[in-house]
């Protein structure tokens, strides 16, 4: 027998098996309806789980993206400061993050597709459950037990097939979500352990430290330049000429200040 025939047969047999246990047709209707309501809850929970998973992956993607942006900035800063070695290091780390990000993007798209499929399945089931409830009440009110048997069979087999399908879809989504949660957890752990931190956005990561030092070095150089210009602009030759004496002047000045300071209380006492 072909694949499709066997799948169809076994699927239908399984979907209907639970319902065959009922002896009273009305009991079958109520039992089936209870199962339908449970299945609706289950599929809605499934949609929520997938959505949670998708949001988690989204957060991780944002974090990695920010880290990449930062490494990009650092590379530019390093290159601007003539540190090609540092820029290369930053870009190497940036490209290492790219594969992680690509992986997360694939996961994200897959979860998004699952979410859409399950949402659609949930809506289909919802519509069928409502239709079933209407039929159930009609059958119960109008027909004798013997007539009801056939009608119930028709109504129940259609919806139990749907429930089997939805149940499988929820199961698949849950399995996949569990796998992705495990991978997302692994990335979170990686981030927490510092393995990714070294590469990335710590306020004091090594690239930033070097850039800060570079910046600090530049600041000192700039300040020196400025001071030289200031002093040189007023009287460059004098300073050069008086350089040895400058220290003497300073100490004299200090001595003068000290004596002035010492004089002040005296002045105060005198007055």
């Amino acid at each position: 027998m072909s694949v499709v025939k066997r799948v169809s047969m076994i699927f239908k047999a399984k979907a209907n098996k639970a319902l065959d246990r009922m002896e009273d047709p009305r009991e079958t209707l109520d039992y089936s309806y209870q199962r339908q309501l449970e299945m609706l809850t289950q599929v809605r929970r499934g949609v929520a789980d997938v959505a949670t998973s998708r949001k988690r992956v989204e957060l991780q993607m944002n974090t990695l993206q920010q880290q990449q942006d930062k490494l990009d900035r650092q590379a530019r800063q390093a290159l601007g400061g003539g540190r090609e070695d540092l820029a290369r290091e930053a870009l190497t780390r940036k490209s290492a993050l790219q594969s992680q990000l690509g992986d997360l993007q694939t996961q994200y798209q897959s979860l998004q597709a699952d979410e859409e499929k399950l949402t659609a399945a949930s809506q289909r089931l919802q519509a069928k459950v409502e239709a079933f409830r209407t039929q159930k009440e009609t059958i119960k009110a109008t027909y004798t037990a013997a007539e009801a048997q056939t009608r119930i069979g028709e109504a129940v087999s259609g919806i139990s097939e749907e429930m089997g399908d939805v149940g499988m879809a929820v199961q698949r989504a849950q399995d996949k979500t569990a796998q992705m949660q495990a991978r997302a957890g692994a990335i979170d752990e990686l981030m927490a352990s510092g393995a990714l931190d070294d590469v990335t956005a710590q306020p004091n990561d090594d690239i930033q430290r070097e850039l800060d030092q570079m910046g600090a070095g530049h600041d000192v150089d700039r300040e020196l330049e400025r001071m030289k210009l200031e002093l040189g602009g007023e009287a460059p030759k004098e300073i050069e000429g008086n350089a040895p004496g400058a220290a003497g002047n300073t100490s004299n000045g200090q001595a003068g200040q000290a004596s002035t300071a010492a004089d002040q209380p005296q002045t105060g006492d005198g007055s």
Partner: protein, 92 residues
Amino acid sequence: MIVRILGEGQLTVDDTVSTELNELDAKLQAALNAGDEKAFRVTLEGLLARVRAAGTPIPADSLEASDVILPYSEASMDDVRALLTDDGLIPG
């Protein structure tokens, strides 16, 4: 006839297409027997695509049972083998 694609819902498909679907089904069986995952993938995708193209989705509130049930599109050979066993993928 009414065809269900697992995970996607039910469609009404004209009976004239059934010969074509049977051929694809036989190819699917051959790929499964040969353990040829690639051929299996291509054939399953082809089968589902043909049904989607030829079929009209039935209203969501219809309670009709399907004549034929097809595996979901991402099903692997192992998934389908599991579908064919009693303690397989189908809950209940």
